[in-house]
C-alpha cells in the first residue's frame, strides 16, 4: 500500500506499529497494514470511535482530502474491510475490556432422585448445572452447581428482575 517516506520513518513506523499490534492484530490478517503507520492510525481511530457506516464514509472521505492522506482506492479497501469485520472487531474490543471472567458456556441436566439412604425423600428432582467461565486469553474454569426446584424458581425470579432492569435501561433515552 503506502511506502514510508524514508527508511528512518519506516523504522519508527514499524516500532509504533509493533506496539499497536497487540491491539490491532486482527488488521494484519488482511495484510494491508505492513509498514503502514497511517493505516494503523486510521483503523485504531475507526475502532476506538465505534463509527457507524455513515461516519466511516465521511471520515475516510476527509482523509482522502488531507495532504499526506490516503487515496480513494485505499479508502475503498479500508471501507470494505470495516464493513465485513466490524462486528468481530467490536466483539474483540469488548472482550479485551472485560477483566472479570466471562460466561463461555452453560450445560445442564435434571436428575430425579428417587431414594436416599439417609432420608425418606422420594422424587426430589435436582438440576445440575455446569458453568464454563474464563478470563480473556485464559483457559476455562468449570463450576458445577446443584439446585432443587425451589432454588431454580428463586433464581428465575432474580433473573426476571435483571431482565426488567435491562428493559428499563434500553427504554431510557441516551
Amino acid at each position: 500500500m503506502m511506502a514510508p517516506q524514508d527508511s528512518s520513518l519506516g523504522n519508527r513506523a514499524r516500532l509504533c506499529f509493533e506496539r499497536k499490534r497487540k491491539r490491532m492484530h486482527f488488521c494484519t490478517r488482511i495484510g494491508i497494514l505492513d509498514n503502514n503507520f497511517l493505516g494503523a492510525q486510521l483503523n485504531q481511530s475507526i475502532a476506538s470511535a465505534d463509527m457507524d457506516f455513515n461516519q466511516l464514509e465521511a471520515y475516510l472521505t476527509a482523509q482522502t482530502k488531507k495532504q499526506g492522506g490516503i487515496t480513494s482506492d485505499q479508502a475503498a479497501v479500508i471501507s470494505k474491510f470495516w464493513k465485513s469485520h466490524k462486528t468481530k472487531i467490536r466483539e474483540s474490543l469488548m472482550n479485551q475490556s472485560r477483566w472479570n471472567s466471562g460466561l463461555r458456556g452453560l450445560s445442564w441436566r435434571v436428575d430425579g432422585k428417587s431414594q436416599s439412604r439417609h432420608s425418606a425423600q422420594i422424587h426430589m428432582p435436582v438440576a445440575v448445572i455446569e458453568l464454563e467461565l474464563g478470563k480473556y486469553g485464559q483457559e476455562s474454569e468449570f463450576l458445577c452447581l446443584e439446585f432443587d426446584e425451589v432454588k431454580v424458581n428463586q433464581i428465575l425470579k432474580t433473573l426476571s428482575e435483571v431482565e426488567e432492569s435491562i428493559t428499563t435501561l434500553i427504554s431510557q433515552p441516551n
Binding site: 476506538s48 465505534d50 469488548m94 475490556s97 422424587h123 445440575v128 463450576l143 433473573l159 434500553i170
Partner: protein, 80 residues
C-alpha cells in the same frame, strides 16, 4: 462422555446470587465502548461447607440465553 465426567465432579450449592447491570463506556483501547453488561457474584458452598465467591460478566445476549436456559430447566424440573 466429557460432559458426563465433568458433571460428576464435586458439586456446589448456591448460597447467594448478587447481580448488577453496568454500562462500559470507554477504555484505553476503545474510546467508545457503549455496551451494557450483567455482572454476577455467586457465593457457592462445597460439600464441606466452605464458601467461595465466583464473579463473572455477561453481555445482554449472553444473559438472555442464560435466562432462557433457566426457564427450560424450570419447565423440565417441574415435570420430573
Amino acid at each position: 462422555a466429557l460432559i458426563r465426567r465433568r458433571l460428576f465432579k464435586a458439586r456446589n450449592t448456591l448460597v447467594d446470587f448478587q447481580w448488577k447491570l453496568g454500562m462500559a463506556v470507554s477504555s484505553d483501547t476503545c474510546r467508545s465502548l457503549k455496551y451494557p453488561y450483567v455482572a454476577v457474584m455467586l457465593k457457592v458452598a462445597d460439600h464441606s461447607g466452605q464458601v467461595k465467591t465466583k464473579c463473572f460478566e455477561m453481555t445482554i445476549p449472553q444473559f438472555q440465553n442464560f435466562y432462557r436456559q433457566f426457564k427450560e430447566i424450570a419447565a423440565v424440573i417441574e415435570t420430573v
